[in-house]
């Protein structure tokens, strides 16, 4: 069970907002994390706490294929991203590198900035402690659960090799 605070962002949060291309001359997670969400909210990284959640609208992570985007969020300490929907490459990348993502339109709509959330990744249950609401995200297909359980695609490959 993981607990943290919600940070809200809008629709179509693109990968240039998550990690601007000007920082992509490195792929070091810690360096990337320092600039996470910088062009959406330059102060966010100094305000957020390890273990917090990003709650966003439709099409989170649209744009480029840069894996640096989920890596930056994961390294910044984001526990999970809850959104109405995710862009396809971001969705793959998040699973492949082990950043938990939850697709749940109702939760993404109703959760307010600053709400305290508790999320159970195993069954996709999202509890809003502040408003006392409970939501259920769509569970991952078993195939993806295996990748997540192994800690990402590379670890899964290593274990089956």
């Amino acid at each position: 069970m993981i607990k943290g605070q919600a940070w809200k962002f809008g629709n179509n949060i693109d990968t240039d907002l998550i990690i601007p291309a000007r920082y992509l001359n490195t792929s070091h997670p810690k360096e990337l994390a320092m600039h996470a969400m910088e062009d959406a909210d330059p102060k966010w990284i100094s305000k957020m706490q390890k273990g917090d959640f990003i709650v966003a609208g439709e099409n989170f992570g649209c744009g480029s294929s840069r894996e640096h985007a989920p890596i930056a969020l994961k390294a910044a300490g984001v526990r999970a991203v809850i959104a109405k929907s995710f862009a396809r490459i971001f969705y793959r990348n998040a699973i492949n590198i082990g950043l938990p993502i939850l697709e749940c339109p109702e939760a993404a709509q109703e959760i307010k900035a600053g709400d305290t959330l508790e999320v159970n990744l195993a069954d996709g249950e999202i509890k809003n402690i502040t408003s006392k609401m409970i939501y259920h995200a769509q569970p991952f297909p078993p195939f993806m659960q295996k990748i997540i359980k192994a800690g990402g695609l590379i670890n899964q490959l290593k274990s089956t090799k």
């Binding site: 649209c62 294929s65 396809r88 793959r92």
Partner: protein, 419 residues
């Protein structure tokens, strides 16, 4: 039930007779691509897997194009990592400066792409190759690493969308306008996780270069891929670049589409996508008062010789506005050479433009034309997100080549008709 081109290619590569939207499948890939941003993390992950060799040293393409020629020490390190990796694993297709180009302009030009193939690239605009009847799609670095080791990748079979374009395009209306118009209609997630199939009389007449422009921006509607049925034009192109034939698939007449869009495009004007989304489109005549500081012509969307010819047509004998910088980026060395042969270089330089070596450069705010706070650029590129070309308070307006060239002369956004 009939199948679409995309479904047939996926089925073939998954070793199945047919596939259905929503199915998770594992496919063999024909080509794996990476650039100087995405390959370095992929290389690190690849080394972690612990295999001794890549799945096929001829089928991996490494193109440092984003921050190349290396713009700073960190970029130089990234490119060096690719170079060393290519050497170590004897990868044939590594493109150093001198023979490089923007990946998605380069690969079709050197005959690396054929119809019916399944291609993945750690770059979202890998979808460009759909222009040749190929299923190609962007993935992340981890997917690239796994594919370099195994030659395989997992997919969810996408739902299918069909776009039918009828009528006749007006003067100065290009393929770019068709795709901007389409994204304006369906939105940046209008094709999220789906295939876009482009068809109709207008498409049949469209050049391969134009089809590459359209397929390139399928990702801007959220699509997994954009695809065109290969035809005579495709075959002629494949012969020209010595690519070989490939396998030509057609969508069955009873193939199932989630939705079919049909538009008569005779009346559309050149389109401009205003900040900060490619779907934020307007006809150019509605943008007249917008002053701009820069115009960028190039990128994987519009950096081919055909684009350069359109730019030259507009710029010939003219001067760019004194308050504005015009930056022209040919997609590859070959294109630059052709520009020299045709006298386009001279036209551009005389007009007051800067002509660069092939690179992604300002398209992603890398180098070679970064915007300051409050500045505006019109660009033939594909994204106008916040901060895409520089300062978070700068703005990018997307357009076709003719409009970007005309606007460079006028200093504000105009159609070539208004010059």
């Amino acid at each position: 039930m009939g199948q679409t081109i995309s479904e047939k290619i996926l089925a073939k590569h998954a070793g199945r007779k047919e596939v259905e939207p929503g199915q998770l499948i594992e496919c063999k890939v024909d080509l794996v691509l990476g650039n100087d941003i995405t390959a370095p993390p992929a290389i690190k992950e690849f080394e972690r897997i612990g295999v001794k060799r890549v799945f096929d040293r001829k089928k991996i393409y490494l193109v440092p194009d984003h921050f190349s020629p290396a713009k700073d020490i960190k970029s130089a390190q990234q490119i060096k990592m690719m170079r060393d990796f290519a050497k170590k694993y004897k990868i044939v297709n590594f493109f150093e400066i001198g023979c490089m180009g923007i990946e998605h302009v380069l690969l079709p030009e050197i005959g690396a792409i054929r119809p019916g193939e399944l291609i993945i690239g750690a770059d979202s605009h890998t979808c460009t190759y759909g222009a040749l009847g190929t299923l190609s799609t962007g993935v992340g670095s981890t997917d690239m690493a796994a594919a370099m080791a195994t030659g395989r990748v997992w997919f969810k079979v996408p739902e299918q969308l069909k776009f039918v374009y009828t009528g006749k395009l007006a003067k100065w209306v290009e393929a770019k306008d068709l795709i901007l118009y389409t994204i304006g209609k369906i939105g940046v997630d209008g094709a999220r996780y789906m295939s876009m199939e482009f068809t109709g009389p207008v498409i049949r007449k469209l050049s391969i270069s134009g089809r590459l422009t359209m397929a390139n921006m399928a990702i801007e509607a959220g699509a997994k891929n954009g695809i065109f049925a290969a035809d005579e034009k495709t075959n002629a192109y494949l012969r020209k670049v010595h690519a070989g034939k490939g396998i030509i698939y057609r969508s069955d007449s009873d193939a199932a589409y989630k939705r079919v869009y049909e538009w008569d495009v005779s009346k559309i004007e050149p389109q401009v996508a205003l900040p900060h989304l490619p779907s934020n489109t307007k006809p150019v005549s509605k943008c007249k008062k917008i002053k701009i500081n820069q115009s960028v012509i190039g990128s994987c969307t519009n950096g081919r010789i055909e684009d350069m010819r359109v730019a030259a047509k507009v710029l010939k004998g003219k001067r760019v506005h004194r308050d504005l910088r015009l930056i022209i980026l040919p997609g590859t060395q070959e294109i630059k050479l052709q520009m020299m042969k045709e006298g386009l270089m001279e036209t551009f330089i005389k007009a007051g433009a800067v002509v660069s070596t092939p690179t992604c450069g300002p398209c992603l705010g890398g180098h070679m034309g970064i915007l300051a706070e409050g500045e505006r650029s019109i660009a033939t590129t594909n994204r106008n997100f916040v901060g895409r070309m520089g300062h978070p308070e700068s703005e990018v307006y997307l357009s076709n080549v003719a409009v970007a060239a005309a606007s460079a002369i006028a200093g504000r956004i105009v159609s070539p008709r208004d010059l």
